[in-house]
Subunit: 419 residues, 2 copies
Amino acid sequence: MEVGEEIFRGEVWIKNENIAYVGTNSDIAEAGPAIPHIKWDFEIDCGDNLLMPGLKNAHTHSAMTFLRSYADDLPLSEWLNTKVFPYEAKLSSGDIYELTRLAVMEYVTSGVTSIFDMYLNPDAIAESCRDTGMRCVLCGNVNDHTSSPEKMADEYERLNEFNPLISYRLGMHAEYTCSKNLLERIAKVVQNYKAPFYCHMSETASEVESCKERYGKTPGLLLNELGMFDYGGGIFHGVHLTDEEMDILQEKKFSVITNPGSNLKLASGIAPVSKLIKKGFNVAIGTDGPASNNALDMFREMYLVATLAKIRDNDAVSVDAGKVLAMATIGGAKAMGLDDADTLTAGKLADIILIDLAKPNMQPENNIVKNIVYSGGKSNVLMTMVGGKILYHNGSYNIGERPEVIYENCNKIAERILG
Amino acid sequence: MEVGEEIFRGEVWIKNENIAYVGTNSDIAEAGPAIPHIKWDFEIDCGDNLLMPGLKNAHTHSAMTFLRSYADDLPLSEWLNTKVFPYEAKLSSGDIYELTRLAVMEYVTSGVTSIFDMYLNPDAIAESCRDTGMRCVLCGNVNDHTSSPEKMADEYERLNEFNPLISYRLGMHAEYTCSKNLLERIAKVVQNYKAPFYCHMSETASEVESCKERYGKTPGLLLNELGMFDYGGGIFHGVHLTDEEMDILQEKKFSVITNPGSNLKLASGIAPVSKLIKKGFNVAIGTDGPASNNALDMFREMYLVATLAKIRDNDAVSVDAGKVLAMATIGGAKAMGLDDADTLTAGKLADIILIDLAKPNMQPENNIVKNIVYSGGKSNVLMTMVGGKILYHNGSYNIGERPEVIYENCNKIAERILG
């Protein structure tokens, strides 16, 4: 497995929630007696397979699992107004807890070790992630209908102290779901906490146009003028960013989180990823919610980032696989404020996955990184560990509940709400 | 599982290579003693999972597995001329046999029950598919360098009689790899056998432009004038078809086989699938070869057909999931001349797959067909059966060789050839 400097044969030791040691076989042989005697609780023989940092799903709405495949192949406006918003209003906090558990099951099968989740009822999401063991960064979701700056400030204070697996970032849904007055109040909270800020932005061309009609400027200019960008953060989508907006976001050290699967299925467009990379942006990758994707599969998203860039730029060289794998790991961690979960390094969080290379789609081993991005998938995920705890291994889940129970509960929720 | 008329609870009985009976549970209960006494060799309890016709991979070059992830993120011309053609010339028939076995392993994990394979040395491919149990339609591959009309005619006679799993269709590589004289000689073979004809066509814009420079017309007009289209057949890719070519191909009852993954990765473009459907074409789906895709995963291709149509047409309604699933099963069978392998019907070939619905990506069951196309993947394939023989079940292969041996051999071939 001598493919590139970064891939080596060796061992990773884990203590509690952290990586305690990473060394090559020869490091370990050389060190010999210098390595302290350690009593293992257990050991996993990874064979010829690949241990790597877990994938970071940097934008999702997990509990939308109840809408999966309910309303596809529809125009965006009809989809949102007749198939999403009316049904979301019927969700209880218990529903959101359970629907998030279903999403967590899919995340762990896809090698995802942390999610950046924006949805109704962050408390229910936090409890669901704590109980299943998933690392979750919650994102504020202020809008005219379901949340407020005061609620966000309260959530920010409480949920950042809730559990080591959970953190919370300031955020709103989007310019087009917030009145001018609300935007100004959100900006005050950002200025008050001097904290990074996140929102959907420039997902569709019509969203940008409607903002220009309302304010005479694109959303990036508007939000920046309001002071929302002053302490960094990130925008979700960014399909239709102008050069002027890119310059502002870059100056403010914003990340851009791209969601290619959702943007395809809703016909929103293809994000300018190669341009963002050239400009030096930190780019991360998200699945978006299961209502619009419909899978929660970071392998598919990685593949789409690499290949859609080629079709957008009309250039097969555009955005290579190695860059994309870095976006899905290091880039995601940076965008989510999880700098201690980005690489396989002693002292970092043990958010780790084991990739099965002994599958036909990963052979021959001409280039393991390109195999992962262009051929890899859920069927290659052998093990997913978050904070030192194995949540998924050889097809079995360790998330505090039996799969059948979660499936049954989620089908009942879907039936009750969708009728 | 009462989703749509076509999905029901029932039983499928198989005798030798065929489906002997398909009935709902109530059919069976009503028929009672009228059903003849049958002694089963074995029975599979499919539980709440989905039995469906196998997926047809209607365009591939299986043995290109040796090049997987060897030369990605390169311009098409550099890729072909420096990374593909020189190395292909080094392949022995034994190499092709072995590299095809690796591809067959991946096909069965992806629910593929038949392939339409165009590559060097069809005899080696035929032997490999016979020995692994994969149904294979071979496609003539005439070009200026590696095959000839005489060789194709000989293969057509011999390989159509070789084995029940194997058939052979007349075909050439493409207009741009054949001289005018060769094209005329190929056309004579088509006229002689009065048989359907297949080739790559209109994959890239530059291919179409160069044909116009050479002949003053697009490839579809040229090949039609030579008489190649007179007995039906199909074209692979068709990304850059003109309206005039579509009219001709439709009149000649041609299928169009789309290969979205490969077209993305090589930046060739997005095929006009919704337009082809509106015009009444039979559209089928292929993975293309593993050097350009790089996976051999019909789930990914189905997803791409549905979602890329939406981005091409700027319309989230374009090409719905049900149509795409039909392309990957019935459409593929029709394009490949496998009309007896298209549906779950008594008397048809038992080319069947079992889809695991008890996975988080397939829940809740709002719409099983849309779940398959938009969320499904290799990890949902429980069983793949070709001609009544189970080739893959619960992660184990039954293809006449142990996976480790095939991996080792294919890595050795890649190392020997690529150095």
